[in-house]
């Protein structure tokens, strides 16, 4: 089971996780990213998410395929929202299922780490005072993604 979606509408995390049960799954792991209420001590009004239609879906599918090739997963779901999102609203859901917990937990961490550096999304912060600022990439994100590449042989995982 592989499900990829880039969408404006919210997702129902419970319903999505339910898709991953069965089919030999012994456990389901997930990560949900949500909009923070503040940035650098300033109150946020909203987060605007932009992406590269066509390329984004392909990049996410490639990451899902790389996870499926690396771990014995029974399912992968990646849902990423775009548009104007309010504090506490969902941004992203990554969920994986496997017969044993270790594969699902590792694959979930892998997918969210890689998604941050390998999928064409951009965030702009809209502050309560009306100011708007494009978010800068964090050096830690690249380091986290690179750590997953380090011990891998050449293959579909290498981008």
């Amino acid at each position: 089971m592989r499900r990829i979606s880039v969408q404006e509408e919210d997702f129902d995390a419970g319903a999505e996780l339910a898709r991953l049960t069965g089919g030999g799954a012994g456990g389901v792991a997930s990560f949900i990213g949500v909009v923070r209420g503040e940035a650098d001590g300033r109150k946020l009004a909203a987060l605007r998410l932009e992406h590269y239609p066509g390329m984004t879906e392909a990049a996410l599918a490639r990451l899902a395929d790389a996870a499926l090739a690396r771990w014995a997963l029974t399912g992968v779901i990646i849902i990423h929202r775009v548009g104007r999102l309010l504090p506490a609203q969902n941004i992203v859901l990554v969920a994986t299922a496997s017969a044993q917990r270790a594969a699902a937990l590792a694959a979930t961490a892998y997918l969210i780490d890689r998604l941050k550096t390998d999928a064409p999304f951009w965030k702009a912060e809209e502050f309560a005072d009306g100011a708007v600022r494009w978010v800068s990439a964090r050096p830690g994100d690249e380091a986290a993604a690179a750590a997953w590449r380090k011990d891998l042989p050449p293959g579909p995982d290498r981008l």
Binding site: K116, W122, S136
Partner: protein
């Protein structure tokens, strides 16, 4: 060739995409950016600091010095910030 701009590059150029005929010798994204910068003040501002710019060629992340070959689409954007 279709050229796309995202995030603050779209804001600075004032457009999301444009169709262009490249002059001879523009054979890398970096050379393309240099040529685009001469198209007007918005484009010049967008490409003022190439250290802040990433690109994709035919919807694959690419190095700024990659060969364009027969590419149909090039996109310029800042480092990605999804998740």
């Amino acid at each position: 060739m279709r050229v796309l701009y995202f995030a603050w590059l779209r804001e600075k150029t004032g457009i999301g995409q444009e169709e262009l005929c490249l002059p001879a010798g523009v054979d890398t994204p970096r050379a393309l950016a240099g040529w685009l910068a001469g198209r007007g003040p918005g484009h010049a501002a967008a490409f003022a600091d190439m250290a802040l710019i990433r690109c994709a060629v035919d919807r694959e992340f690419a190095a700024l010095d990659a060969k364009l070959g027969g590419a149909a689409e090039v996109a310029f954007f800042p480092p990605v910030t999804g998740g």
